[in-house]
Amino acid sequence: MSDTAERDLIARCRQGEDGAFRELVDQYKGLVFALVARTIRDPSRAEDLAQEVFLKIHRGLPYFRGDARLSTWIYRIVVNLCASERPSRDVPLDAGDEERPAWEPGGPDRAYGDVELRDRLDKAIRRLPAHYRVLVAGHYLRGMKYEDLAEALHLPMGTVKTHLHRAKRLLREMLEEPRPGSEQRTANSE
């Protein structure tokens, strides 16, 4: 969405035009839902929380000054709401996941290895600490730029990159053969 179209949409929302707000929801529901679903531990709460994000947007639009891009502001709302969500009991880890052999690069059946890596990666993300999950979801799954993440989180861009590197290292360690201590570290880091 171009900057002009975005400003126009915000102005119409502020005038109380329901149709404009509906357009805004349609425009950003994919981003909001994907971020919320990846960040919280309990997937059954995703829809309710994602709707709550839009209620906050609706209440906050009169005060949105337009310094940041709308998507950046929305990302910040998602982060704050997910942070305030009381962490439910950890999603049970896939039984037997740790017993699977470690991923072998360039092994005899690479295609199978790759598909398996994707599945295990998908699960491993859910075991990351929440502040890494929301960054990984924003950057890698929804293509948000480093600078937008930094602005939304009020962090220097270097810190955002460092957090993403650490998140990927944790993922790597979860996918590697279980070594004493590696499981404990991920379990204790939250």
């Binding site: 509906r22 994919g30 995703a46 829809e47 690069p105 890596l117 290292r169 790597r172």
Partner: protein, 160 residues
């Protein structure tokens, strides 16, 4: 250069934020453990953007709009209730004023015992209210200010 030192840098190097030193390169050329870690990191980089993304259900937007309408309705109800109370209080004051005026100008004749009873009632109520008078005054002031701000925002909305 140790495997742990390499391990800490792999993701930064693959993201182009750091570069391998010659020491690190020499280690990587001979260490299968680190080579395997680099390959795994490359696999993660390849797959992360391709992971399935959760999508909202088809009813999502209508659900949000229903909640927005419900919230607006609740706010309007609260505002309406406040107005009704204010209007009732205003009407009561007008009626009391008109009655007082009619009584003082002799249009209404009230017996002496009724007047005495009313005086006593006013005195008793006054004595009860007097200690809390500052609280009532502040509450009245806040209510007036609140209604004033509401009127102002409504007015500003019309102007826009």
């Amino acid at each position: 250069m140790t495997c742990d030192q390499i391990n800490l840098r792999i993701d930064a190097v693959l993201d182009g934020d750091e570069a391998w030193t010659s020491d690190a390169r020499a280690h990587l050329d001979t260490c299968s453990r680190c080579q395997s870690r680099v390959a795994l990191a490359q696999g993660i980089n390849r797959w992360l953007p391709q992971l399935p993304v959760d999508t909202p259900p088809a009813t999502f937007t209508s659900g949000v709009m229903a909640r927005v309408r419900r919230e607006r309705w609740r706010a309007e109800q609260a505002l309406d209730a406040g107005f009704n109370v204010a209007i009732a209080a205003g009407l009561l004051l007008i009626v009391a004023g008109v009655a007082g005026l009619a009584w003082s100008s002799g249009l209404i004749v009230v017996g002496a015992d009724v007047v005495a009873l009313m005086r006593e009632a006013i005195a008793v109520t006054g004595a009860e209210i007097a200690p809390q008078l500052p609280t009532y005054s502040v509450a009245a002031l806040l209510l007036t200010m609140g209604l004033g701000v509401w009127w102002w925002t409504e007015h500003a909305n019309f102007e826009r």
